[in-house]
């Protein structure tokens, strides 16, 4: 079916639907329905894939391209590094997207986009045509900003563990192998980066492990930012009270190079730091496919989008969401936010493919829980709504906030959050 014919059929269908003669978009189904291709099965892409299927009454075909065999959650992965959770606890199968929602899952990696022909090329050699492309490729690292990281073996020794998976396990092993009395140094890049409070949570998790298993060891936080970028007073209280003598925080430590052979970190202005375990979170940008396709128009790092549809400002029919986008003011790069982007984008894509207007009044929230121990948690929450004049998402005045103190009740809510968002994204 040609595109114009499809739109005519679709609008006829919705007119009939409005008259109560039929329900849903029954005539959209089958192999002739419009095609949506989603790149990346993380919080953003998996959610978008599920909701495009659900909200088109299963009339729009959705193909999800994801190289990993299963979904591994970044949120909660710091607890695997701390030793209180396992990889199995943070791993979820993609099976329900396929079985319940009819998503066509392709285990491959998108390498190229042809926006004129509307085709995505995959590493495996195949080409997928699309009517709408949803890109949720997450972040990739700007390793070029740390020249020593390109030396042979450097990236196997100095880990980021900032994408949950093999590196999460490997960092845990490095900590287990470290002698008592050793130093674990964590380097944090300038904001914006994925998961603002994540590094500080990781420091707590490692410190709790040290306090139990290696009490003479230290955690050294080397932050390129002037000060703690998220939940500052709550983290500092945990460090001063729970991890006194274990955690040391140093701001304004912008790492410029790494010598993996000697486990040494070099800085713009400060003296070199040597550590037993060096955990370097490099500066990051939008995922490779987005940068390569010319979509990262903000500082050549992030993709600017229309916040009503998540359509790229640089290319038609390509929607970008999740950590890859140039964020709105006070909008964090988080899994929760990527899930919200996924639903907003899915609603807009379904509307656009069925001749309807996208929602003009998006509103969604972010909730982010950080574990300061294996049980006690602090949160930050915010509500974001569309501002038609400024054409961006802004936080609602008077809304949002943080925990008054770390507490065990929110530790339970944090795990309930995880179970629920994993189900909302994947089940």
């Amino acid at each position: 079916m040609k595109r114009r014919q499809f739109i005519q059929t679709a609008s006829a269908t919705s007119a009939l639907g409005a008259m109560g003669l039929i329900s849903g978009c029954a005539t959209l189904g089958g192999s002739n329905g419009p095609k949506v291709v989603v790149v990346g099965g993380g919080y953003g892409g998996a959610t978008a894939a599920k909701y495009v299927r659900m909200w088109s009454d299963y009339g729009i075909q959705v193909t999800l391209i994801e190289p990993n065999a299963s979904f591994i959650s970044c949120p909660i992965s710091n607890l695997v590094i701390g030793g209180s959770k396992t990889m199995a606890d943070i791993t979820t199968s993609y099976d329900n997207l396929v079985k319940r929602h009819g998503v066509n899952l392709v285990k491959d990696y998108a390498t190229q986009i042809d926006p004129d022909k509307r085709v995505v090329k995959l590493a495996g050699g195949s080409e997928l045509p699309y009517d709408k492309l949803i890109l949720s490729p997450g972040v990739d690292f700007m390793m070029e900003s740390l020249p020593g990281m390109s030396k042979a073996g450097a990236q196997d020794k100095v880990l980021h563990a900032w994408k949950a998976g093999a590196q999460t396990v490997a960092l845990r092993k490095q900590l287990e192998a470290m002698p008592d009395g050793g130093v674990y140094a964590l380097s944090i890049p300038l904001a914006p980066y994925r998961c603002p409070p994540g590094p500080y949570e990781r420091a707590c998790q490692v410190a709790e492990y040290f306090s139990k298993a290696k009490p003479k060891s230290k955690v050294l936080i080397l932050d390129a930012n002037d000060d703690v970028t998220s939940k500052g007073p709550l983290f500092k209280k945990a460090w001063a009270e729970r991890y006194k003598g274990i955690i040391e925080y140093r701001g304004k430590h912008n790492a410029t190079d790494v010598d993996a052979a000697t486990n040494t970190l070099k800085f713009e202005f400060n003296d070199d730091v040597k550590a037993n375990v060096l955990n370097v979170i490099p500066p990051m940008r939008a995922g490779d496919i987005a940068v390569k396709s010319g979509l990262a128009t903000a500082n050549k790092r992030w993709c600017e989008v229309d916040f009503l549809t998540f359509e790229s400002k640089a290319a038609k029919n390509i929607h970008v969401l999740g950590d890859s986008i140039q964020i709105a003011p006070a909008m964090p790069k988080s899994g929760h936010m990527a899930n919200q982007h996924g639903k907003t984008c899915a609603a807009a894509v379904v509307a656009l493919l069925t001749g309807k207007e996208p929602n003009k009044q998006p509103i969604y929230n972010n909730t982010c829980y950080s574990f300061v121990s294996s049980e006690d948690v602090v949160h930050v929450a915010s509500v974001h709504t569309y501002d038609a004049d400024k054409k961006t998402m802004l936080t609602v005045p008077g809304s949002g906030g943080v925990s008054s103190a770390a507490n065990e009740l929110e530790g339970r809510y944090a795990m309930a959050w995880a179970r629920n968002i994993w189900a909302d994204t994947l089940a």
Partner: protein, 103 residues
């Protein structure tokens, strides 16, 4: 006369339905608003263990709870901060959406 009265009433009826429809938010907009709750309360309000299921709950109960959170009358860890981000109209519409979902 009877016929005229009927016509008049029919017209009034149409007018009031039309104005009610233009005042009520679009159902697809409400669906998107409600989906912003599903990260924690489950797709269409059917929650996994540990958080409250909203699907099939009483609309007035949801509205009252949310307005109590918003006004600070009901203590919470996080909901008082989130409720303040939504207008009363949005809360009523979202509550209606969840009340209409299957449990």
């Amino acid at each position: 006369m009877k016929k005229l009265t009927f016509l008049f009433m029919a017209m009034m009826g149409t007018a009031s339905i039309a104005s009610a429809q233009s005042a009520a938010p679009d159902p697809l907009t409400v669906r998107s608003w409600a989906a912003s709750c599903s990260n924690c309360h489950g797709t269409n309000g059917r929650a996994e263990p540990g958080n409250e299921t909203l699907a099939g709950a009483n609309k007035d109960d949801i509205v009252k709870k949310m307005l109590d959170f918003k006004a600070g009358r009901k203590p919470a860890t996080i909901m008082h901060q989130l409720a303040k981000g939504y207008s009363d109209e949005q809360i009523v519409a979202i509550a209606g959406y969840f009340a209409a979902q299957k449990k």
